[in-house]
């Protein structure tokens, strides 16, 4: 009998074009390459300069998400799907035009702003069934780790590596180590996948996963929906990990069944059988392991300038004596204009953002709407709800969620990355405080001088109503 292997090892072994040697890294084959407008233009330019073709356009899919406007189309004269384009700044417009030209020249499928399949690249991959267990998936975007929720090996790459994959469908890779993050127990009411991952990062730190691929295991993880699993894997990079993954199971297969690119008929049954064999074998060894007791978790919120600076919503900001990283705490609190030892709850806010590849899927919008239904956001708060994809937007509108958000006083926008990184004109003002369901609270991430508190959709919605950071639990339907 062969040596027991982890999920990661099975994927790694199955994609080795060439083994690692003492002198050369492994050559890893990539099954799916996702492309967007911001990190690809220089890679296509490289191909053009060398006279190279795209090796596998059939394994390459592009969309537009980072630079795209989210202005509601019905507010744009003409109201058609393309009408938002002229509102872009010239640089953003040039990026979109360049992506269109590149995809046309190299024969790559592009879901542009006129496509019903357009959306944040990490939302549409799963939604279309492109993301399937056992695949290696890359994109010039660090949140590619999202796709690991399906039992894929998925990670972000730089633009030079985008060129490598376009031209050869391969990457030179050093083998990462593996870390099991085991989460067991029933989640308390009001505690979500976002709170689990913020608690994990608070525990292991923003460099805790460096050099590792994380595998999330345990009864809590098994009980999560695919969208919740994506939220967890999405933020693996915020712990510094190369990737995050969860073994596929019946929840995975039920999610994928019938999606446009999922196998059909007899091929589906064969695929499921193959996918079931991917789970980590009993007795397989990880290089490191940690465990989390889900029953002890509370809604989490960050107070600082990296995603590891998080506390339970009813907690306090640490004091210098309570941290090993005094300088980092000082700098973070100076930027945030917050006091050590202060409570986070009750801090007045200016903006609430529901969106991003972390929390913009239909279940996230339903969660936010469940808190907002029949209520109004505070008069001091501007709230943006930005669906992760055109399909999520359609689904939300079919369920009437957009009416809930509008009635509450929030803005209902078109799909895109939006205020997560403020490339498209949606931004938090200098010195303003935002509660955001996105993934990064770095200085200036949501706009120059913007101050970000990361939280779940439930906490963000509750905070919008309170006009200040608020515990979502009192707002939940009993």
């Amino acid at each position: 009998m062969s040596r027991p292997r982890t999920l990661f090892e099975k994927l790694w072994d199955a994609h080795l074009v060439r083994l690692e040697t003492p002198d050369t890294p492994a050559v890893l084959y990539i099954d799916l390459h996702l492309v967007h407008e911001v990190t690809s233009p220089q890679a296509f330019a490289e191909l053009r300069a060398r006279g190279l073709r795209v090796r596998r356009p059939d394994r390459t899919v592009a969309t537009m998400d980072h630079s795209t406007p989210t202005t509601p189309r019905e507010q744009v004269p003409g109201g058609d799907r393309r009408a938002a384009l002229p509102m872009l700044d010239p640089q953003g417009a040039a990026q979109l035009a360049q992506l269109e030209a590149n995809c046309r020249e190299y024969g790559i499928e592009l879901y542009d702003l006129s496509s019903e399949r357009q959306g944040i690249v990490h939302v549409i991959g799963p939604e279309l069934g492109l993301t399937q267990p056992g695949k290696t998936i890359v994109c010039g975007d660090s949140h590619t780790s999202t796709h690991g929720a399906f039992g894929t090996l998925a990670f972000g790459i730089g633009t030079s590596e985008v060129a490598h994959v376009l031209a050869t469908q391969c990457l030179l890779q050093q083998k990462p180590k593996t870390m099991e993050i085991r989460v067991d127990g029933a989640l308390p009411r009001g505690v979500t996948a976002k709170d689990i991952i913020l608690a994990i990062i608070a525990k292991i730190g923003v460099a805790g996963g460096r050099g590792y691929v994380l595998e999330y295991t345990g009864s809590t993880i098994r009980s999560l929906s695919m969208e919740e699993r994506m939220t967890i894997c999405n933020m693996s990079i915020e712990a510094g990990a190369r990737a995050g993954m969860i073994a596929p199971d019946d929840t995975t297969f039920a999610y994928l069944a019938g999606r446009p690119f999922a196998p059909q008929g007899a091929a589906w049954a064969a695929a499921v059988e193959r996918w079931r064999a991917l789970a980590t074998d009993p007795g397989a060894q990880y290089d490191a392991s940690i465990s989390i007791d889900a029953t002890t978790l509370a809604p989490m919120v960050t107070y600082g300038t990296n995603p590891g600076m998080g506390v339970p919503i009813d907690g306090r900001i640490p004091t210098a004596d309570e941290t090993a990283e005094r300088d980092a705490l000082d700098r973070a609190l100076s930027y945030m204009d917050l006091q050590p030892g202060a409570a986070v709850q009750g801090r007045t806010i200016d903006v609430v953002f529901i969106g991003s590849c972390t929390n913009s899927r239909i279940s996230d919008l339903r969660a936010a709407a469940s808190v907002l239904r029949g209520r109004r956001i505070a008069s001091n708060v501007r709230m943006l709800v930005v669906p992760g994809s055109s399909a999520v937007k359609q689904q939300a509108e079919a369920e009437g969620l957009h009416e809930v958000f509008r009635a509450a006083g929030a803005e209902w926008r078109e799909a895109g990355c939006s205020m997560c990184l403020a490339m498209n004109g949606d931004s938090v003002g200098p010195g303003e405080y935002a509660v955001s369901t996105s993934n990064r609270n770095f200085e200036g991430r949501q706009g120059q001088g913007a101050r970000t508190f990361l939280a779940s959709p439930l906490t963000a919605a509750a905070s919008a109503i309170a006009g200040a950071i608020a515990d979502p639990r009192p707002y939940l339907e009993s």
Binding site: Q42, Q91, G92, G129, S160, H164, G240, R242, F442
Partner: protein, 200 residues
């Protein structure tokens, strides 16, 4: 890629831990389709005030920092986004090496691909070097990649680890894309035997 040559330079000190790529180059500078002028965007939000004027107290703006080829940074430099614009901006400003106690994975890989040498020192050696270059911003370090060593201003010599292939590529100026293209036959063979059907 140009081969990496021996560097002797004074050192810019930016010892904050966990400097993310959004600080190295903010997202609004990513709305480009080329690599032009990225040196001006390096550390933009720390470097310029709201009117775009250089902040005199930020280290990159100090006269003694000009012409430096080496940056000494804090732990976990380059965390966050995968944007290769980060090493592009560092190289465009003039840096050829960054010294830290640890680098974020994607940044390290992007840096190597742009002949920006990520040097990892143990925390004690890192602290000694930081103290020396902070005390005297004109103090010089020498970096010898072939020998895998850094010589501190006081003469202390520290060796640093580097993956053998990365070292080879940097010293020879090997083009990684060219290396992969040469494996065409292997890749084709793999595509023929791969059991997982293509469904994308």
């Amino acid at each position: 890629m140009q081969p990496f040559e021996r560097i002797t330079s004074h050192v810019v000190a930016l010892p904050n831990d966990d400097v993310d790529t959004d600080q190295i180059i903010p997202a609004r500078y990513l709305k480009i389709t080329d690599r032009a002028n990225l040196g001006d965007a390096l550390f933009a939000d720390w470097r310029y005030d709201a009117n775009g004027a250089p902040k005199p107290d930020f280290v990159l703006n100090r006269p003694e920092s000009q012409g430096a080829r080496v940056l000494i940074a804090g732990r976990n430099f380059g965390c966050g986004s995968s944007r290769e614009h980060a090493p592009w901006a560092l190289v465009a400003w003039g840096f050829r090496a960054v010294i830290s106690t640890a680098f974020a994975d994607i940044f390290r890989s992007n840096a190597i691909g742009n002949a920006l040498l990520p040097i990892v020192l143990d925390p004690a050696a890192h602290a000694r070097l930081l103290a020396q270059v902070t005390a005297d911003p004109s103090a010089q370090v020498s970096i010898d990649l072939a020998a895998q060593s850094v010589t501190f201003p006081d003469g202390e010599v520290q060796s640093f680890p580097i993956d053998p292939f990365d070292r080879y590529c940097l010293l020879q100026g090997v083009d990684r894309l060219g290396f992969l293209l040469d494996l065409d036959a292997d890749i084709t063979r793999f595509e023929h035997i791969q059991t997982q059907p293509i469904s994308a």
